[in-house]
Every structure is written in C-alpha cells, then in structure tokens.
Amino acid sequence: MTEERKKPVKRPRVGMPEQDPGQRIRNFKEVPFGYTSEMAIREAERCLGCKARECVAGCPVEVDIPRMIELVRDGKFLEAYRVVRETNSLPAICGRVCPQEEQCEIKCLLGRKGEPVAIGRIERFVADYAMQRGEAELDRPRPRQGRVAIVGSGPAGLTAAGDLAKLGYQVTVFEALHAPGGVLMYGIPEFRLPKDIVHAEVNLLRAMGVDLQLNVVVGRTLTVDELMKDGYQAVFLGTGAGLPTFMSIPGETLNGVYSANEFLTRTNLMKAYLFPEHDTPIKAGRRVAVVGAGNVAMDSVRCAIRLGAEAGIIVYRRSEAEMPARKEEIHHAVDEGVVFRTLTNPVRILGDERGWVKALECIRMELGEPDASGRRRPIPIAGSEFTMEVDTVVMALGTSPNPIIHQTTPGLEVNRWGCLVADETTGLTTRPMVYAGGDAVTGAATVILAMGAGKRAAVAIHRELENL
C-alpha cells in the first residue's frame, strides 16, 4: 500500500441502479445497470486498504482487490483493469456472477460491522470501462514451442486457454456446441450476463491467437488419444457438468416437462425469446413450476416470467434458509413476483387427456435432524399431499458430468459421482499430460472456481512443457 493512502470515507454502500421490476419482466435486458465512474469512486472511497488483505484471501483467484480499489478511487480505471487482469481473465463476467457475498465480500473487514465494500460491482465497472474503450486488448505473446488442446469453452477452458496463450503456447479450444462460453452462453440468462460480454471475452482470446474449433464433440468427433496423436502435447478437459437430473417421478415425459438445461438452452443459447426470428421454440406456459432453489432454478423461473408466464412458482423441499441460490438472485425473483412454495416436494406430475401437464402433485415437508450436508433433512408429512395447477414443470435439481469423455478415454478415472479424478493443485488426471478442472472435476460449482482450476492447470501444463 502507498504511504499517502487517502483516509477511507464512512458511508453506506453505494447502491447499483437497476431496471424497475415491472418493466424488466417484459424484456431480457440486463437487470442492474452497473456503476457510473462517480459511483465507483464513491464506493472505492469506503475501502480501508487493509494490510491483512482478507478480501484477497476470499477470492479463489486472488485478485489484488485493495490495489484495484485504490486505483479506482484515484480514477485510474484502466490501470485498475490491468491489475484485475493479472489474475482474473474474465473480470466482466466475475463482477456479475461471482457469489461475492460468500467469497471476497464476506471476508471484507468492513462487513464485520456494516456492509462490505461492493468489490464485485467495482470489478464489473472496471472491466466494462476497459472493454467499452477497446482498451482490453492485450499484447500478442511471444510464441513458444508446444501445442495444447483445451476441451470445452466454459470458464475453466477459456481461462486455461488464455493463460497458456499468454505464455506463448499454441492453443486450440474444442467446443461441442456451436457457440463458445459453456454455461455462460447456454445457462446463465442474458438479463444476468449479457452475451455480448461473453463474446468480447472470447474475442480477446482469439486476438491472442487462440484457435477455436466449434462443433467438435470430443469423444465422438475426435478422442483425447487422437488429439495426443495429432501432436497436442497436453490436453485440458473443462467439459463441465452438463447432464441433467430428473426426479424419476411419474409423469416426467409429459409434454411441458423440461430439464432446466433444456429450458435455459432453448431460451439463452438458442434465443427462443426471439422466436420466430430465431427458429427455436419454447413452451413457457401460463403457470410454471420450477423444482429446486439454486441459481439454476432462479434463472429458469425468471426466464419463464419474461417469456410470459402469469405465475412462476419455485417448489423447494427445504425452507427458505437452505436455498442454495445467491441471496441477490432470490431477491430479484421475489421482486419479479415469483411465488415460493417451500417445504414442498413434488411426488407426481399429472397430465390431461392429450398428454400435457395439468398439475403437480406435491407433499408437504418438515425439517428433521441435520444430514451429511449439515442442512436439516426434509421429511414428508404423511397425508399432506395436494395438487397445484400448472402447465409447465422445469426440473432444476442439479447436474453431473457427461460420461462421453471418460467412456472414450481409456485410463481416465472418475469417482462415484462421475466426476473426473484430478490432482487438486495441478489438475492432472489419471492419464499423463491430461489435465482437468471446473465442474467436470468438482460437479456443479461456480464460475470463479472453474477459472481457478483452469489457471492452476495452465501453470502445471507450462511446468511440464518447459521440461520436455
């Protein structure tokens, strides 16, 4: 920290303006508008510039938060951007979707007595500022011997690709879908993460010389062994956890039942909200029940409302306190009129004579003793069944890794949840020179954790390739 650091100013957190709920439920535009320069500076002035740097410890990629904030406070936004970029290659995305309240901000010293510094909002501001000014361009690296194949273009793959390209390696990213970005493209909706931001980040990688091969399903189009044979010295698997879960209750193949993956992919990747200009349709329904209460469930129900549903209902078997979604997203959903039916679990989906969903039969639950996850276990209350009239049901129950990769790569081990076995610090799998990270290893987690894994693997791959 510089000696002459200005004294922090005591004042409440600077709020971030956002679209009015009544208006935003009719569009897919981003909900929060972001800080202006002035707001960013005012918020930055609250930071104590602590020596202990607890906030940094809370960030999985250790962004130099106090330094970033100090530069913002002094109006040096582009310099602040460069500081962030040193450790975080996707700041415009993290500033928006990181669960800051559990990571950097929860550790903030100011949070002990009042509100923590709005680190995520400042980071978002800095990244948007740099991108808008076209200052995000990075120097083209000095080429170095070595070719690396990255499988999957989610945050894990993009980060590994960026870091290796920065070191000068020849990097090719193979993506199964027709668009790069992973969950950032197909899962998280436009109103939470505008797709232009994902495009911009991907274009930065392209500008650094990263080669992007879309429509390549590794395991089908090409195998990991073939990649190695084709001259890639190392492979990084960032294939995510894309497999949906259903409840295995009666009625799940009725018309009008979706996995959250399908519902969100149609809406976000395929832009069904612009149907028929975009060709992919969706049946959002009039009354939509979304089963689950994580970020995926909140995104699904908020999409349903924007697609014209009269009622969006979250059905969750535990109570509000256990909901895994970010608090901010739950608030947004509440503001948008989403109804929460907690301590409620579906037992059966009922169809009409034409095979369309007409109701969801549920049972009420109560909370018993804490289970292995430390959360109180929901127990059905006998005889409390009731039906809820709905015409669409979206299952948002979590996802697991797609088995295509491990089924087609001899020697690649998975654990009993189907997650790839990989070393925690290097990401090395049970196959030499094959690394993995992100949701494919941890199961569904967060953007920043996936990025952290991509980063560590890039370091490990670099170390190996240097010694070749």
Binding site: A176, T265, H278
Partner: protein, 280 residues
C-alpha cells in the same frame, strides 16, 4: 462452414447433400447422426448420416422438407453450406445388428437414406438383405438403385399402386413373414407411424426389430433431455442411448405425443418465413 460438395434432388421435397466434414467422415458409422444448423438464428436439427467417404472427407445426408428448418436446408445449393454441423452422434448400429442369416430392412420417406449404410454393413458380414421401400406414389421413391446395390432384393410398395405392391410396406413385410421364410432381424426407419406399424407386424412372430426414433433434439449429446423416450419402462435419451431401439419396447404413443409438442410454433415459424414445404 461445412461446404456442400454435391446436391441431388431426389424428389421435389427430398434433397441429398454430400457435405465436406472431414472429421465427421473419419469417424462416422452406420446408425449415427449429425446435428446441423442452417443459419445463424437457426435451430439445431438432427440428420442421419446416410453415407460417408473417409478419403474425400465427406458425409451424405438426405433431407426431407417438413417444416421451416428442413425447408431452408433444402434450399441450400452446391458451394453453400451448413454453418454448423456436429457429429457423429448417437450409438452406431453395429452392436445391435444380428450378423448372420437374413435381415429385412424397411425404409419410408427419407428413411431409405439411413438404411443404406446399415444394409451395406449387413452385406459385408454375409447377411442376406431384403429391402422394402415405400412411398405415397412412385415419384417419391428415393435411392432405389443405391439400395439395390447393397441388397439381395428390393421390394417396392406405393400407397397408390403406381409401383410395386399397392399398399403399405407393412403388407409386403407381412407377406414375407407369411411365406415362412427365415428372418433374423427387421430394421425399420421412416415416419413414426410406419415404424410403429412394422413393430406391430413383427410383434406376434417375435421377430427382432430395430427402429430409429426421431424425437425433437437440441444438443444431441445428452445435455438437455429433450429427446427422452420410454423404452421397456425406462426413460432413455435418444441422442446417446439411441437412436436405434428395440421396436417392441418403445412407447410409441408417448413419442407421437411428444413429437407434437411444438406443433403450434412450427406452424407459426413456417408461416412467418414462407420458406418450408410443410409436405408432411
């Protein structure tokens, strides 16, 4: 861009495309499919691989115009191409085929195209192949010569009697069964109604029968569950567990119902663009 190296008009509503897709051609096996998009705002639709040339790096697909996307696809010319094409997807037919004796293949509509590589494979193993093809009328029959080249015999049925047996392919199949000839396996690909009828015919004599189900798909890699169907009481994903399944175990009612899920939107899309054929 996946360039179209050759286009052939098989019927007014059915086009054959040989597409430059070297990686897919290198791996393709009979029974598998690709997912394509025909334009930037396009949806992802599955098309079966009807042939491949590993050396030239091309695959063949046959598209029948039924709605907006297939209609737009049928308007693509040589030199143009599919902006996106991913595959090969789905399980190869090979492990599901009986490698001895005699097989009957039944193809309806575009279904004759995916039959071609399967019949070819059977013949390689020395299986005797009888192929039955059908259409509404003689002009709509496709790929007869190509099929003849990989079959021991080709039997034709038309709804209006303009060629071969007057009636449905199932009648021809029933006749073969009634004659008491040895049949080890039946493979039927075509419209759902046809596949279902074939399943009905082969049920009583207990003939092993495969059909290629065609539910609505999105990703084609197991990620969305749009393609789910019930087989032997269990929910399967057609794109990774299929598309070929035991015909006697498939819940056809459910498939027919799920196939209509977007009927209203499909009509809207077609009307909005006035591009597809809508010849169901």
């Amino acid at each position: 861009m996946f360039k179209i190296a050759e286009r052939r008009d098989l019927t007014p509503v059915t086009k054959l495309f040989r597409v430059q897709a070297p990686l897919v051609a290198r791996k393709a096996q009979p029974g598998q499919f690709v997912i394509v998009r025909v334009r930037e705002q396009g949806e992802r639709i599955p098309l079966t691989i009807a042939g491949y040339d590993r050396e030239k790096g091309t695959i063949t697909v046959v598209v029948q115009e039924v709605g907006k996307t297939s209609g737009l696809a049928c308007r693509l010319e040589e030199g143009q191409g599919f902006p996106d094409l991913a595959g090969p997807l789905g399980r190869p037919a090979e492990p599901l085929l009986i490698k001895t004796g005699r097989a009957i293949t039944v193809g309806g509509g575009f279904g004759v195209a995916p039959i071609l590589p399967i019949a070819g494979l059977l013949r390689q193993w020395g299986v005797k192949v009888t192929s039955i093809i059908g259409a509404r009328t003689a002009d709509l029959l496709i790929l007869e010569d190509e099929l003849a080249a990989v079959s021991d015999e080709v039997l034709v049925a038309t709804d209006d009697g303009s060629r071969g047996t007057h009636g449905f392919v199932t009648q021809v199949l029933q006749d073969l069964i009634d004659k008491g000839q040895r049949i080890d396996q039946v493979i039927a690909i075509g419209p759902m109604a046809m596949m279902r009828a074939v399943a009905g015919v082969t049920q009583a004599p207990g003939l092993a029968t495969l059909v290629s189900v065609d539910p609505v798909m999105v990703d084609g890699t197991g990620m969305c569950g749009a393609c789910r169907l019930t087989v032997a009481g269990e929910v399967k994903f057609a794109c990774v567990d299929g598309p070929l399944f035991d015909a006697h175990q498939v819940d056809f009612d459910e498939q027919v119902r799920r196939g209509k899920m977007y009927a209203v939107e499909e009509k809207r899309a077609l009307e909005a663009c006035r591009c597809g054929g809508g010849h169901q």
